[in-house]
Amino acid sequence: MMLRVLTLLAALMGFAAVPAIAQNGPLRIEIDEGVIEPMPFAVPDFVAENAAAAEMARNISRVVAADLVNTGLFREIPKEAFIASVTNFDSPVQYADWKAINAQALVTGAVSVGSDGRLNVKFRLLDVFADAPLGDGLQFGGTTSSWRRVAHKVADQVYSRITGEGGYFDSRVVYVAETGPKNDRKKRLAIMDYDGANTQYLTDSTSIVLAPRFSPNGDRVLYTSYETGFPRIYLLDVATVGRRAVDDQSGTMTFSPRFGPDGSTVLYSASQGGNTDLFSMNLGGGQRARLTSSPSIETAPSYSPDGSRIVFESDRSGTQQLYIMSAGGGEPQRISFGSGRYSTPVWSPRGDYIAFTKQNKGRFHIGVMRTDGSEERLLTASFLDEGPTWSPNGRVIMFSRETAGAGGTSALYSVDISGRNLRKISVDGAASDPAWSPLLP
């Protein structure tokens, strides 16, 4: 009883003293609603420090701006709106001039080309409303032929400093380039910059190729080819374009390969006697290890970033669904429970999401879910969307979309993980089955 009275008394006193604090303490405000809009930035043409660099300076600043705009998170302020110009990389910036046009970030740079053909690019990122640079100035060197990569690296730095995430611009995409009508389509492997530039072909179009996958450091590609008449996995060196078959056993169809995080293990499906199961194999030369042994079809395996688990699709429940199991095999756990069929799961490089293709009510979707199957979100919807692949920072998903009808063609698209910013990648001709490389060194 006494205690209760004391508690009550203390409570009253505490209550009474609250206004005294409120009066003298700081004013506390909670902001729980913001806006989702692209951040306006300005990239004045980089300063050309010698005559040879004039055109390159302009091109590099254009690529930097395009990279940032491509993310959907930034909006470039057109040059016509500028009320100040940057003619000297080292002279102080008049922040007020950039505040006046509401530029929140300002990227300045300088480009020089040496007599030996060496390219040197310096840049600074300035937080206009903080009146201060955001991070230190940096400079990149390279050959003039690699100017786009240098520009991507500058943009990666800008993106990373503002968003707090890793960049993804200096990366490449391997895909299947398609020509010809649907009933006689030629396919060959091609590789390009993430933005569609610098396309190169890795194979000829004499045989059907499918599902290329990058190694963790981007130097090799695993893919499936029908050149022997039935599907078989090949390993291709990107630099030399040399290749060899993986798990070359007669009478076995192998497909749907994917590298392990260490780059030496390959995970794939093998079909023998009408049953498809998952296997792993060391590329250094080893026996294949069986991971599943079920009468159902198990395929499309993908490692978690730490290599401890595998997500894959299986029809053991009667329809295609997603399952997770330990990297060494074991009892799989189903994670997809929505309506429709789920396929081609890919673990995010950040480890937080699994991207997948979903077929439901005659429509195809690219979606993401947490690794336990929760928080499923569909990011796209169309006649045929499939084959998601993650950007190196786990923020963007690229996939192929095919239009309906006999004249339908396939193209590559990218979408932000938030479901915003759906963009078509500008590729020469039709394209499908993209696979994103890691960030280049």
Partner: protein
């Protein structure tokens, strides 16, 4: 009341029999009076009920207006006036329940709610208010622990998780018997002399003002909160000047240092002296600042930074602009360094970008908004 007074007088005299007789007579008289009053009152009661209903309507809208509309309903058919009449009647009905709810349940409800919810704020408050006596400061540390451990395990630990609470509960069981007596006398000795007089009054007025703050006038707030909290300050230095200086330093030394360094307030103590305090900030004035900032707060919902809550502290100049480079991050909900920094930059950019020529804040209350702590919580913005 009259009955009981008489009865007590007779009891003192000891004449029970006569007392019983008188009581019987009084009861008889009352019963008779009731009968007689019933006979006369029916007419009055009927009138009173009608008047009261109109009075309630009159309280919300101008007294003459509702009556006139009721009268006009019957004779005038036009559709325009009919919708007008229903609106006042529903308005009156909700208000009548609202007022009794506030007045009656407040006292019983307020006590249990406070005791359950506010054990933590109590501890914080006691640190500042009772500081004068020297020994209590050491004891306050113990009281903080004991008080906090006590309330927490019982209501909060049971519903929420299992791992952490159980050890706390076990520890508290062993410790409570020994420590509980020590903290309890301390609040009695220390707090009551200074604050018991203010506590009950402010508690009652607070409850009223919080309920009425948004819809109604500020008068109730100004009369209650401001004066009480101010005299509490001067009373502190009276017992001991040294300790009065300490809380001021602890509370606002950082803020004052910032303000002085920036040439803002130039007030030494808590800001009561030179900076105008004025009546308490209304929710509308706070909302103006909140909305002013949030329209510039760009959230990148897909990023890790878009899942981090950051709290920043800053000082404002008298014209409502951020003083110098005063925006500092004082708390965050955790994440990678890069993401936390990005979340902070985003918050800072919002504040700086939308200040324009200064946030619209009442100058007469500058002391209240000179130092601002702003929490940016992106929870609602998350992609789902």
């Amino acid at each position: 009341m009259g009955k009981t007074g008489k009865a007590e007088a007779f009891m003192n005299k000891g004449i029970y029999i006569s007392g019983i007789g008188h009581i019987g007579l009084i009861v008889w008289v009352l019963v008779g009076g009731l009968f007689s009053s019933d006979r006369t009152e029916p007419l009055d009661v009927a009138e009173v009920s009608i008047i009261s209903g109109e009075e309630f309507a009159a309280l919300t809208a101008p007294a003459s207006a509702p009556r006139a509309t009721q009268d006009t309903q019957e004779p005038t058919p036009p559709a325009s006036e009919q919708p007008v009449t229903p609106t006042p009647t529903p308005d009156t009905t909700p208000e009548t329940p609202a007022r009794p709810d506030v007045s009656q349940p407040e006292q019983p409800d307020a006590a249990p709610d406070v005791s359950e919810i506010e054990p933590l704020p109590q501890a914080e408050v006691t640190d500042e208010a009772p500081t004068p006596p020297a020994p209590p400061t050491e004891d306050n540390g113990t009281t903080l622990l004991t008080q906090s451990t006590r309330p927490r395990p019982a209501p909060r630990v049971a519903p929420v998780p299992a791992a952490q609470p159980t050890p706390d509960a076990e520890v508290s069981d062993t410790v409570t018997e020994a420590t509980v007596p020590t903290p309890e006398p301390e609040p009695e000795v220390v707090k009551p002399p200074v604050e018991t007089a203010t506590a009950p009054e402010e508690a009652t007025t607070e409850i009223v003002t919080e309920a009425e703050e948004k819809p109604d006038a500020e008068t109730s707030l100004t009369s209650s909160m401001r004066p009480r909290s101010r005299p509490a300050r001067p009373t502190k230095p009276a017992p001991s000047t040294q300790k009065a200086a300490k809380p001021a330093d602890v509370q606002s030394s950082v803020n004052d240092a910032l303000a002085e360094a920036l040439g803002g307030g130039a007030t030494e103590t808590s800001g009561n002296g030179s900076a105008p305090v004025g009546p308490p900030m209304t929710s509308g004035e706070k909302d103006a600042l909140r909305i002013g900032v949030q329209r510039c707060w760009v959230v990148d919902a897909g990023s890790e930074a878009g899942r981090i809550t950051v709290t920043v502290a800053m000082s404002l100049t008298e014209d409502g602009k951020v003083a110098g480079n005063s925006i500092k991050m004082i708390a965050n909900s955790g994440g990678s360094d890069q993401a936390v920094n990005s979340a902070f930059q985003s918050a800072r950019r919002a504040i700086l970008r939308c200040q324009q020529n200064g946030y619209d804040l009442p100058k007469e209350k500058y002391a209240q908004w000179r130092d601002v702590e702003m929490t940016f919580n992106p929870e609602k913005m998350r992609i789902k």
